[in-house]
């Protein structure tokens, strides 16, 4: 077979993945246009549908057709409508900004993954049923066109065309476009925009399910892999600027084919592993490129103005005391429990990095896991003597040097943050985190032959934990300095009103770089400690999905609360050690989805409770006025019951 023949075969093979990616892009674009929400949970919805289909067919022996109809046409759209009603519509009613909507989306993502882990466990299944058999359909000129590929391709084209035709020529389509054009005006013209949104969610969820069901047979079905793969296909929707269906379809197919064709590229020598890494992760590279290209998307967002940020306040002392007690407690633990607790200070440092970037600076960062991974990998490389020109270093110098090297790398996300806000920034930081994970941490060229030990520092767990506490203390000191005095005021000003801060003379670009660099340093310190605690470099610990979970955790705990981050770290580690896997994700995810009703997160709740407790009770009519609506109803009810 000639080179041209091989090219054709590879293209045909690439169309399978390409059409799934295109489908995913179509779903994201349609949902975004109908609802204004970039559905970050799409990957998790795809995974959940794929699991459900497998459950029905493999475990309960339903006929494939019936199960497919149930999953795709009933369960998936119902999930979409449920998400709209329970999570996103309340946010929109309250006039919540894109930041809160995004956190809710991440919450759904984390919640679904946690639920899947709870129900089906983390062991991968290799028997996800294919919807269509992979039999050869035709062999024109000896090139095999498989039936499943043909059906997938046809599905994408038919769906995209149908969506195009419906929105062009039907009354529903006109209303949909009216809502997209100007939601408020459409409402004034008597269009029920909420119903249009629900339809958008149902359709988006259906395509997500279809993507999941189509992709699952190609890989092992586990709770993390498929969602992340689908999230990587966000590249397609981002390239289409969340608007154009044809661009989404063409980009999806082109990336699929290109990925397939790249397998032929075999550069000699040292470049080979890098080329292979790029080839298997072409969608990640595409996401990074698409997110970094200039784009107006989200540029008019209000940043991440998460409400409820107060500085200091009454609950703070109590929270700080609780933190101190909690992190000192493990020193008295048994050896086994102490081993689990080793993770707490390290994780607390990583979460603190999110507090600095998101809570103090108001910048979305979904990529902190990447910086934590760099800290861990750097420590491991330096300790193993893998860095040219440097001997193998003992633990502490290796850790500190790794942190020092990671700090300037904070510019990777800090630089794009100068011109980007909200959604656009979230996508860039997620892309950077994913690219680091896929192109560096997962690759043998970076991670083979690493040895991590506690050489040169207390080797026992108790001694090591003490060292961790000292470093956590240093980290907290930096965090405190970022929140106090002139610097703290300038950061809060930037978070609350960027244009106002700038007009008052605050050098906003410089401050953004500063928070991202400080965040990178803190995350790297935490990541390095994780590696030293486990005495190994574990790439799965710095998976992008972890980054999402950590981001959601911090926002749920109260984005600008350092004490909240430390408590959250203890809680996450405690839940993971003490309960079934997945419980922590379910808890965090569920809390994130109700964040709309809980401004300021758990810290905000605590702060308000403390405020109420310490406000002196005023006599007479003043007390009446202080009652919440619930309080008033209760009082009325009590009055009714009274004889």
């Amino acid at each position: 077979m000639g080179a041209a023949g091989l090219t054709l075969d590879l293209a045909l093979a690439g169309l399978a993945v390409g059409s799934a990616a295109a489908l995913s892009g179509v779903g994201l674009v349609v949902t975004y246009r109908a609802t204004g929400v970039l559905n970050l949970a799409q990957g998790a919805q795809a995974m959940a549908t794929a699991y459900l289909l497998r459950e029905l067919v493999v475990v309960h022996h339903w006929p494939l057709a019936l199960a497919a109809v149930c999953c795709l046409l009933v369960a998936a759209p119902a999930l979409g409508v449920l998400l709209d009603l329970a999570v996103f519509r309340p946010l929109q009613r309250r006039g919540a900004g894109p930041a809160e909507t995004m956190v809710a989306g991440i919450g759904v993502f984390v919640l679904l993954i946690g639920a899947a882990v709870l129900i089906w466990g983390t062991a991968p299944y290799g028997d996800a049923p294919p919807l269509v058999e992979g039999t050869a359909l035709a062999q024109p000129g000896g090139h095999v066109l498989r039936l499943d590929t043909a059906v997938q391709l046809a599905t994408v084209l038919v769906l995209a065309t149908t969506v195009g035709l419906v929105s062009r020529y039907t009354r529903f389509g006109v209303r949909l476009r009216a809502v997209v054009d100007n939601r408020a005006l459409a409402q004034l013209a008597g269009v029920d925009a909420d119903r249009i949104s629900s339809a958008g969610w149902a359709f988006g969820s259906f395509t997500a399910g279809l993507v999941g069901v189509l992709l699952a047979p190609f890989l092992l079905l586990d709770p993390y892999g498929l969602p992340l793969l689908v999230m990587e296909t966000m590249a397609v929707a981002v390239a289409a600027r969340l608007r154009s269906l044809p661009v989404a379809v063409v980009t999806g197919l082109a990336l699929g084919v290109a990925q397939s064709e790249l397998t032929r590229l075999r550069p000699a020598g040292q470049l080979l592993p890098l080329a292979q890494a790029v080839q298997t992760n072409l969608f990640v590279v595409a996401l990074l490129v698409a997110a970094l290209l200039p784009w107006s998307g989200g540029s008019d967002d209000t940043g991440l103005a998460l409400p409820g940020g107060g500085r200091g306040g009454r609950g703070a002392t109590a929270a700080r005391t609780a933190c101190t007690v909690l992190v000192l407690l493990p020193l008295g633990f048994h050896a086994d429990d102490l081993r689990h607790a080793l993770l707490v200070p390290a994780l607390a440092l990583v979460l603190l990095s999110v507090v600095v970037v998101t809570g103090y600076g108001g910048q979305v960062s979904l990529g902190q896991a990447g910086y934590a991974g760099l800290g861990a990998l750097g420590t491991a490389l330096l300790m193993s003597g893998k860095v040219p020109g440097l001997p193998a270093l003992p633990a502490v110098p290796a850790l500190l040097l790794a942190v020092a090297v990671t700090v300037p790398l904070g510019l990777l996300t800090g630089w794009p943050a100068i011109r980007r806000r909200g959604l656009a920034l979230a996508l860039v930081t997620f892309a950077v985190g994913t690219a680091l994970s896929r192109l560096v941490f997962d690759q043998p060229y970076a991670t083979t032959g690493l040895t991590v030990s506690r050489d040169g520092m207390p080797t026992g767990d108790r001694g090591f934990y003490t060292v961790e506490l000292v470093l956590l203390g240093v980290g907290l000191l930096v965090v405190r300095n970022l929140h106090r005095g002139r610097l703290g005021r300038a950061l809060t000003a930037m978070r609350d009103h960027q244009a106002g801060a700038s007009a008052a003379g605050v050098d906003v670009p410089r401050l953004k770089l500063l928070v991202f660099m400080a965040g990178a340093g803190l995350a790297a310190l935490g990541g390095g400690l994780m590696a030293l605690g486990g005495q190994a470099f574990d790439p799965t610990a710095f998976d992008p999905v972890q980054g999402l979970l950590w981001f959601a955790t911090v926002v749920v705990a109260g984005a600008d609360s350092a004490a909240g981050a430390v408590l959250a770290a203890a809680l996450l580690v405690g839940l993971d050690a003490g309960t079934a896997a997945g419980v922590s994700a379910v808890v965090v995810g569920a809390l994130a989805t109700v964040l709309g009703r809980m401004p300021g997160g758990l810290a905000g709740l605590a702060r308000r409770a403390a405020d109420r407790a310490t406000v002196p009770a005023r006599p007479g009519p003043g007390q009446e006025a202080a009652l919440t609506p619930l309080g008033r109803r209760l009082r009325e009810r009590i009055a009714e019951r009274a004889p």
Partner: protein, 213 residues
């Protein structure tokens, strides 16, 4: 239609500090006020685009709180905003079809040759006509117009005002928000003058003339 003690906040800013006003059915009412006086906010509050932080909006004697904008629209309320009153990416026919498919109000024959054009490509005045035509096609019982004459030729404005009086004569309520009171609107039943989010004057146009002179 009636407002009682209505207050509206936009984030930190309070735009209306307790507004009381009534617009009689079957008549034309004019809200006068400079930019930032709150006249647009009054219309947006009545239409359900913004929710009052205090006070009541009564329509046909019923409290409207909690009624979504689209439900008010379906119940016979139409608002023509001062800006962005058309769906720019939709054709003129589609814009008009959102209210009532098929027909075009004869008061704007200028629009007939433009039906297949995208509304966003029209001039400001033509867009304003599309917005007005769409509102009129819905045959609303309460018609709210925010500076409807903006961008229109004086002759068209006069024709529009004439038309609005005819609409009111059919028993419908018409409310216009304007910066100034043109002579063609002096037959209006009531004028309310807003200043800094409060009602500064309520009465007949003739009384207002007396005050100014």
């Amino acid at each position: 239609m009636e407002l009682r003690g209505v207050r509206v906040r936009y984030g930190l800013l309070e735009a209306l500090h307790g507004v009381d006003l009534a617009c009689p059915a079957g008549r034309v009412t004019v809200l006068l006020g400079r930019n930032g006086s709150g006249r647009t906010t009054v219309l947006r509050t009545v239409a359900g685009v913004v929710r009052p932080s205090a006070g009541q909006v009564l329509w046909q004697g019923r409290e409207t709180a909690g009624l979504d904008a689209y439900r008010r629209a379906r119940a016979g309320l139409a608002l023509v905003p001062a800006e962005r009153g058309v769906f720019g990416s939709l054709t003129v026919a589609e814009n008009l079809g959102l209210s009532e498919p098929g027909t075009v109000e004869p008061s704007f024959p200028e629009l007939l040759p433009l039906l297949t054009r995208r509304a966003g490509t029209l001039s400001g005045g033509q867009q304003q006509m599309v917005a007005l035509a769409r509102a009129l096609l819905a045959r609303p019982r309460l018609l709210l117009l925010d500076e409807p004459g903006r961008g229109l030729a004086p002759a068209v404005v006069a024709r529009l005002h004439e038309l609005l009086f005819r609409v009111a004569a059919e028993g419908r309520t018409v409310v216009l928000a304007e910066q100034g009171l043109p002579p063609t609107l002096e037959a209006a039943a009531v004028v309310h003058v807003l200043r800094r989010g409060r009602i500064a004057f309520s009465g007949e146009p003739s009384e207002l003339r007396g005050l100014v002179r």
